[in-house]
Symmetry: C2
Subunit: 392 residues, 2 copies
Amino acid sequence: MPNITNDPNSVLDDIAEKASIFEGKEAVRTILREIFLNGTIGTKSLSRKLRMPIPTVAATRKELEKIGLISREKKGAILTEKGLIFVNEALGIYYLESHYCKKCESTGIALPHEAEKLIAKQRLYSERRPKPQTEIDQAFGRPITAIRRAYLMLENNDLEGREILLIGDDDFTSLAIAQLKTNAKITVLDIDNRLLEIIKEISTENNFKINCVTHDLRKPLPENLMNRFDAVLTDPPYTIPGLELFLSRAIQALKNESGRKIYLAYAHRPPKMQLEVQSSLTKLGLAILQLIPGFNLYEGAEMHGNTTYISILSTTESTKPLITLDFSEKIYTGELNPTIREYQCKNGHVSEIGSSLEIKNIEELKEKGCPVCGDKDEFTRVSRRKIKENAK
Amino acid sequence: MPNITNDPNSVLDDIAEKASIFEGKEAVRTILREIFLNGTIGTKSLSRKLRMPIPTVAATRKELEKIGLISREKKGAILTEKGLIFVNEALGIYYLESHYCKKCESTGIALPHEAEKLIAKQRLYSERRPKPQTEIDQAFGRPITAIRRAYLMLENNDLEGREILLIGDDDFTSLAIAQLKTNAKITVLDIDNRLLEIIKEISTENNFKINCVTHDLRKPLPENLMNRFDAVLTDPPYTIPGLELFLSRAIQALKNESGRKIYLAYAHRPPKMQLEVQSSLTKLGLAILQLIPGFNLYEGAEMHGNTTYISILSTTESTKPLITLDFSEKIYTGELNPTIREYQCKNGHVSEIGSSLEIKNIEELKEKGCPVCGDKDEFTRVSRRKIKENAK
């Protein structure tokens, strides 16, 4: 272990390495700062606030505990005396106030009073959703996220008098938009008929007008949806082929002119992977007008710290789809990056999870509980490995 | 004139064409919506809120007035009865509430109470700035902008215990950062020695420690500033060569590792030009982590609606400077896009302004007043033309 006060960067590097997190030393520094700012904070909150995967935060916390910089209390991690000295004196971090905007949750969109009622209704609608199909990257957005997206579109002049398309809508954003009672014409396209049936039901009950189309996006867009829409919202699979496919279809659905907007939800990724996303957007000829980290909150999606960003993209004179025909390549996370993860319950029993196994993800494991002792309280990831393509 | 209620899109197109604005019909629609939302609103506020150049807004307003959709009151533009019907019935716009967050001005950074004192001090510092040299694209940021930038960097873990570089600092952001009294080590690099002298003076008076370096960025970075910094802030010339030059130097100044951040202020541009910016960033291997429209406010810079965005960029494993040696190409707006603009005072006298003329910009014209009658109240742009390269 390097000298704690003289060489803080090596200490951080060391912890990042031991925790096997590929976010590196800056992630460790940020985690320490956030614990300092909060006094005590749980792993889940840390993960969400810092937009880091829960396993990254959990593994780092464990290493920080081992070298005595933090200890665990009931409410979560807390700095030890040694940890406090390290944060203050070695890292130079003293500032105790956050400038995160509580009013709009730093999204820039302040919800009006009546939004509470809309969120309550949205919650009732959301409860009627079936189980998410994680193999097609479903992860259900929270009611507040759907409502905030609707207001974001309204604020940006993209609802009133507009024709809009939702490409995939496991978040029920269409219902949130309908709740605002603008005259927006809403079309929802989804591969999952179960979701569309419920959207239709709720639509009928509330006299919303939502046009639902069951469609596998790997097939070309139906002719009658081409060059028609003013704006599109999509929360695609967080893979490059998934992104390029969904955005290519979005481009074809939009009116063929500059200035049409796409609201894109996407995972916070390490800079290298975000650069790949940006490179795809540039190839598609889509300009990023705004990018709001932490905008979307999910009920599941722990791998993404339960949160993703939203970006407002605009078509330009050089916008063009990269895919126009049938698409037969893999697009979902589980297809492209099949992994097996081992989780340990607090009694020490290890369970394997992965998209090719019976228990597909941590959310499912938590719901079913440890197969040995049934405990549902707390699981720690102990390993993660990629499955080779051939082994599938 | 197309039928106002049956073919609203053609009406909007028609106005955009007559006003010769290249932002197109969507700009007209947005302007109408903003007037509707506000009741009465002046050109300057419209321009700032919609992040559009003042001449674009002024020209559109004039055409809207001509066809009787708006009229002018003392406080600014207001919809006529015909205009209200058009906005409501033809455009489908009824919603009267804005969801802009007043607490953080939709920047995501809520200023604490003590910020008021800091802004007041920053105002005193700013008053000591000499006249902006518009030929090198200087435009002075407002005190609140410098303070908010400092809090943004603090919030993002980029001040405490960090070594930071400001590439160009006509906004005096260095002084705002120093006011926060973190232990950040600040270096300012600027071509304009007048500004650096004042920063040094204020620094001495307040016992701030700011390292000032006079340097023309077209020359390579001084050896002792290479691979040294944790973060850079820059508000470069809003031209592609200017952007690429400033960011190339920034990359070389940063520690050579992934995850180092650049805070980039840049003008809101039509999607096509924003795509060019994005393309440059992608070539430089810089990932956009966040993009906050309207973050920066200026005392001048009317051509940009007095506001620009801020974007937080991160270095990645593929980051590389595009320029490492001497750079002899043109980088400033006036060099690259020399234009002559004709403005008319309210008494009808026309003045020519341009970077190659005696009166360089609208700010100067307003200060000096109309050369014929001395009137300073109100100028309307009547024409704009590019000067051919050879004619210079």
